[in-house]
């Protein structure tokens, strides 16, 4: 072993101003790459969306695949959203009873529960649960097909993969989200009433009558059907992330994770816009 230990010569270290310039330069480079990546991602998403839209509106239509995806997104997510809805119902019931009692407004319990479930919690919880289950599943499935050249094989067989794989999945998400939201709402209201009825006698009929007293369709329908936009976000992000995957098993993992994270994030951001839109146009 050499007896000469490594000691960097003082003369090799650049002077402090030069080091600062290097640091600033690397920060600027990193920021530029970050911005480029950000705009490139949105640009690619725009091109992808256009290709899917064009494929979706032109024949031949992939009805059989659409039905398979409706089952995959709808029926198979139903138990999960029902359980999530049931849990939310109990939680809201417990919280609402405690809070309303403090203000002497216990009579408002049914309306509070109905409005908070249907207008706020039901749609968001359904969106996030479906984003987790369906977004990850779609992202991973399509990414796996991409890295094993199955999507190339579909294209080589003269079949438009945007029509067969993306349009059907996105449409299934758009159609199923509102239906799943209704299921979540129903379960939440049922368990919310049940949790209340365990403490104080309250018939289900009375609970529903009080809860929906004076309510109009416009108070609930836009909130339920806005989840079609959530469906669009979940399907679009999952298909986009899946179909642009590179890099084997690690790429598949990244696609699944990114699908869930980005879909959930965009879903919550979209909700901000949608709530304002509904308040302006439907209230």
């Amino acid at each position: 072993m050499s007896d000469r230990g490594f000691t960097p010569a003082a003369g090799l270290n650049p002077p402090l101003p030069l080091r600062r310039i290097e640091l600033l330069s690397s920060v600027a480079g990193y920021t530029t790459r970050l911005f480029n990546g950000f705009f490139e991602w949105f640009g690619s998403l725009g091109i992808f969306s256009w290709q899917v839209l064009r494929a979706a509106v032109t024949p031949p239509y992939e009805w059989r695949e659409l039905i398979r995806q409706l089952d995959e997104v709808g029926s198979k997510s139903l138990p999960l959203v029902a359980m999530a809805g049931a849990a939310i119902g109990v939680i809201l019931s417990l919280e609402a009873r405690y809070t309303l009692s403090r203000f002497g407004a216990k009579s408002m319990f049914p309306a509070t529960l109905v409005y908070s479930v249907i207008q706020v919690m039901g749609p968001v919880i359904t969106g996030l649960v479906v984003s987790g289950r369906v977004g990850a599943g779609m992202g991973a499935e399509l990414a796996s097909m991409k890295v094993t050249e199955q999507i190339d094989a579909i294209e080589a067989s003269a079949i438009n993969p945007y029509r067969l794989l993306a349009a059907t999945r996105i449409l299934a998400c758009i159609l199923m989200l509102p239906l799943l939201t209704i299921a979540t709402d129903a379960c939440a209201l049922l368990t919310g009433w049940f949790a209340q009825a365990m403490v104080e006698p309250l018939s289900f009929h009375q609970f529903i009558a009080n809860g929906f007293n004076g309510a109009t369709f416009s108070a609930f329908l836009p909130q339920t059907f806005k989840t079609a936009v959530y469906g669009l976000i979940i399907g679009l992000i999952a298909c986009f992330q899946g179909m642009r995957t590179r890099g084997g098993a690690a790429g598949v993992g990244r696609a699944a994770t990114n699908s869930v994270v980005l879909a959930s994030l965009f879903l919550i951001l979209a909700d901000v816009v949608l709530v304002k839109f509904i308040l302006v146009f439907f209230s």
């Binding site: 290709q51 494929a55 032109t58 031949p60 796996s144 097909m145 094993t148 050249e149 199955q150 190339d152 094989a153 579909i154 294209e155 080589a156 067989s157 003269a158 079949i159 438009n160 945007y162």
Partner: protein, 261 residues
């Protein structure tokens, strides 16, 4: 000369009977600054089989992907039956792809479908005019041609690599293509399976008279199945001709390749 695709009818154009089936003219392709194809030109006529040989990374598979339109060239033109494929939409390119069969290096079978569903897949999308029993009969016939008639309901993960290639070949032939592109059909197979696949390709070529390009490392396989060989190096054709032409060549790279094969 290349003509534009018939946009008005959205149908594949009539074939130019004088033009070669596949014409690759001065094609360049780079990935992330790395030049893969460097002005390559090739022609394949009807009923002819061209074997493309070369070291790994010389752009052999990329060439096939460009011909079927899965990638686009940076420069140069690719014509199928005399019609340039550059700039066609997916659906319009699809009309041309219906005349092409492609065997991927790893077979690329749909892993959620059975063997027979894999072969039926192109038929179910493009031959809906055929009654279901007739389609099923055609699938069985194709699988019998490649010796897989006993494994109809197996999943791709339950069969060997050689069997997957056979199924991939049956799927490539499903639409009765006029052009067959084979990417390393014998790669990773034992000598007996390789010989079986070679025999199968020869038999199919005799029966269907397709224009074929076979990308391979395997000189013995190339000599068996192809009438003409093209040796690639650094993204361009070093020599093109019969096996005897290659043997008589004075080019150092050709001699080295033949010596090592």
């Amino acid at each position: 000369m290349a003509t534009a695709y018939d946009i008005a009818t959205k149908q594949a154009p009539e074939q130019d009977s004088l033009a070669p089936v596949i014409a690759v003219e001065n094609v360049y392709k780079s990935f992330a600054g790395h030049k893969v194809l460097n002005g390559i030109s090739l022609r394949v006529e009807r009923g002819e089989t061209l074997a493309v040989l070369g070291r790994s990374g010389t752009g052999k598979s990329v060439l096939l992907r460009l011909i079927i339109g899965l990638d686009t060239p940076d420069f140069g033109s690719i014509c199928i039956h005399g019609h340039a494929i550059a700039g066609l939409s997916l659906d319009r390119m699809g009309e041309i792809r219906k005349k092409m069969g492609f065997l991927f290096q790893q077979a690329a079978l749909y892993d959620s479908l059975t063997v027979q569903e894999n072969v039926a897949f192109p038929l179910e999308h493009h031959r809906r005019d055929l009654p279901k029993p007739e389609r099923a009969g055609r699938v069985r016939q194709l699988l019998a041609e490649v010796g897989m008639e006993g494994d109809l309901d197996k999943m791709p993960s339950d069969i060997s690599g050689g069997m997957q290639k056979r199924v991939g070949l049956a799927r490539a032939l499903a639409l009765e293509p006029e052009i067959l592109l084979l990417d390393e059909p014998t790669a990773g197979l034992d000598p007996i399976s390789s010989a079986e696949i070679d025999e199968l390709i020869l038999k199919l070529q005799r029966e269907h008279r397709m224009a074929s390009i076979v990308v391979t490392h395997d000189l013995h396989s190339a000599r068996t199945i192809a009438g003409r060989l093209a040796l690639l190096n650094e993204g361009d054709v070093v020599i093109e001709g019969t096996f005897e032409d290659l043997q008589q060549s004075d080019i150092g790279f050709v001699k080295e390749f033949l010596k090592q094969s």
